[in-house]
Structure formats: structure tokens, C-alpha cells
Symmetry: C2
Subunit: 211 residues, 2 copies
């Protein structure tokens, strides 16, 4: 069934991804040369380019896998959110930001986000953008769910507000990775404050819940 060629292709992709992942994290994206990745993955430089359009796209492939996991983790919050709007958003924050530096360095995030803007047409840049879209949907779903349960007022369109909330989270995260000295705690605290401000405006007046 799965021919030799197909198997080798999968193998090589994995080896290249693993090598790049390790090296980017250990030595830093800029300091790693394609030649280093090729050597560690036991392929030639040319082969790396057969599998990934550019060095940057290779990074984006790695980062995208991380974002996929985050989206998966976020589903549990949407499925069963805290009652308070502010708490619900905080839960999402914690999932989105909480593990951001486990496998990726700030430099990797910076570079990946920069590439997704500066070179948006590569395969994994598109993928990254697509994942951002899914994150917007997830936030929207959460807001929608909060409305459905009567925890949030019905005065707003969850899609629109979901995008606003996500755009804010994303921009805050960008500022976080831009400043090497900024701690995760500071990021989470600042974002939580902003979400609380929004939450106050869209939270359901408890009295309204009586009807």
C-alpha cells in the first residue's frame, strides 16, 4: 500500500522538522543554518528546500503544530465555560498563553509572526493564518455559548466581538514576544484586565436572568 517513496517522504519530513525544531530552540532561529538542519536530519540542503519553501516556512510549520494543540486545548473551555464572562475569557487566556514558551522561544514566535505578515503566501504562512481564523472562531464560539447560557447579554454579535477579543489577545502576545524582558505573568495580567473591561460591558445583568 504505502510505497517506499511515500514512507521515505514522511520520514524525511519528520527528520527535518525534528532537527529544525531542536536547533531553533537550542541555538536560536537566526543562528541556525539550513546546512546545520540538513546535516542533523541526514539529508542535503537541496532536500530541505524540496520539503519546505524557505527556512521561515519550516519554522512556521513547527509553530503551526503548536497552535493546533492550543486550539484543541481551547475546546474544553468552550464546551464547559465558567459562569462569569471574565472568568471564561481568563480560562482561554491561560490556555492560549500558558504553554506558549514550552516548546517555542520568544525569538521563534517573533520570527513566525513576522513571517506570517511579511511573507503571507507560503504554504505554512497560509496555514498559520488559517489557524488564527480558527482561534477567532473559538473565541466567538465561547461568547456565543455564554450568551446561550444567559451569562452574557444579547446586545452584541459574538462573531464581531470574538474577533475584537482575539485581535487584542494576539496584539498583546506580539508585544510580549517583542520584549524579551516581559514575563508571562505580566502578559496575562494585562490581558486579563482588558478582558475584564470588556466582560463588564457584555456580562448579563444578573437581574435580567430572572425572566
Amino acid at each position: 500500500m504505502t510505497g517506499l517513496r511515500e514512507r521515505q517522504k514522511a520520514d524525511r519530513t519528520q527528520r527535518i522538522l525534528a532537527a529544525a525544531s531542536r536547533l531553533f530552540r537550542d541555538k536560536g532561529y537566526d543562528a541556525v543554518r539550513i546546512e546545520d538542519i540538513a546535516q542533523l536530519a541526514d539529508v542535503s540542503v537541496g532536500t530541505c528546500y524540496n520539503y519546505f519553501w524557505t527556512k521561515g516556512d519550516l519554522l512556521l510549520a513547527i509553530v503551526s503544530m503548536e497552535v493546533e494543540e492550543v486550539i484543541l486545548a481551547g475546546k474544553s473551555v468552550v464546551a464547559d465555560p465558567p459562569v462569569e464572562v471574565a472568568l471564561a475569557l481568563d480560562s482561554l487566556i491561560n490556555i492560549y498563553f500558558g504553554h506558549s514558551l514550552h516548546y517555542l522561544s520568544k525569538e521563534m514566535w517573533r520570527t513566525a509572526m513576522a513571517l506570517s505578515i511579511g511573507a503571507p503566501e507560503t504554504p505554512f504562512s497560509s496555514r498559520y493564518t488559517e489557524l488564527d481564523g480558527l482561534l477567532v472562531l473559538q473565541v466567538s464560539d465561547l461568547l456565543s455559548e455564554l450568551q446561550r447560557r444567559g451569562y452574557a447579554c444579547l446586545d452584541f454579535d459574538p462573531q464581531t466581538m470574538g474577533q475584537v477579543v482575539f485581535n487584542n489577545l494576539n496584539q498583546m502576545f506580539i508585544e510580549f514576544v517583542k520584549q524579551e524582558s516581559m514575563s508571562l505573568e505580566t502578559l496575562i495580567a494585562a490581558t486579563s484586565r482588558q478582558n475584564s473591561a470588556l466582560a463588564r460591558l457584555i456580562a448579563q445583568d444578573p437581574a435580567e436572568n430572572q425572566r
Copy 2:
């Protein structure tokens, strides 16, 4: 007073900026080589690097000038804002986005924003980030002014909400420059819708104005 050296320095800076500006816009940032800029500016490659850290920083210098103008233009809106919160935010949108493509191409914006994230420590990257900070302040000032005049409720902190609004605008602008096919009208319409949603939540109930 102004020594020869000082005058030449200013001259050369201007020539380099003018040459780069023209070439980036005409041929596209990526297609322009430092050698081309040096030739048109009538200096050597090395001199370009004496004035600007990198090709990217040269671009950021150009883009920063544009942002400075936008901030200046924004002051008039803050000084005398429309009565409706939504309209006030729309005015700001129009100023911020309206002329964005007059002197700069989408590619230039994309590259500049990418650089400000990916290489945040260069002189003009810092400058660009600083200008973003001023834009946040400007939006905050507008909200504050709207509160002062009783057009907006007092239930929110203008600083916090100003940052949220700006972060959203910025992220929307990023999406705009990422998609070569997206029109300015589409961007403005989408952003206006989001601002309206926020405006509805923070607008002063007219009845409250009676006291």
C-alpha cells in the same frame, strides 16, 4: 554654525531616504538592492550602512514618517470629536487608514510591520513601536474626551479600552496588508462594524445626560 560635515550628513540622509522611498515604491522592497539605493543616492553601499543599520531599518524610517503624519492628523479628531462614539471612532479610522496607501505600498507596510516584530531592537523598529504607543494614547485620549463631554459612559477605563480599540485596528490593518486583494473600503467597513459594536456598549444612555 552648521559645519560642513553636519550639512553633508543631513544631505546624505535625505538622499538615501528619497532614493529608497522611490525605489521601494516603484520596484518593491524585495526587488531593490542596497546597491541600487546607493547608486541613486550617489553614495556607496557602505555609507548606506553608516546611516541605517539594515535595509529593513531604512524602510522603517520611511514608514515611521508616515505614521508621524497620521498621528498629527489624528489630533484634530481628538480635539473636536463627533458627538456619537461610533462616529468619533469612524473619524479616527478614516484618518488612520484613509491615506495609508498614498506613499506606501501594501508590501512596504507588510515588511515594515513584520520587521517591527521580528527585529524589534533596531533604532527605527523602536521608533515604530514608540509611535504605536502614541497611537494607543491618541485613541485613549479620544475616549477620555468623549467621557468628559458626556458622550460616553464612565464605566470603563479609557486607557484600557483605548488599547483594546487600537490593538483591534492594528490587527485589522495587518490583515488588510496581508491580502493584496482586500480593498480599503472593505477594511474600513469591517473595522467600522467592530467599533460600532464597542461603541454601543460604551455609549452614554441619552437619558443619563439629563442630570
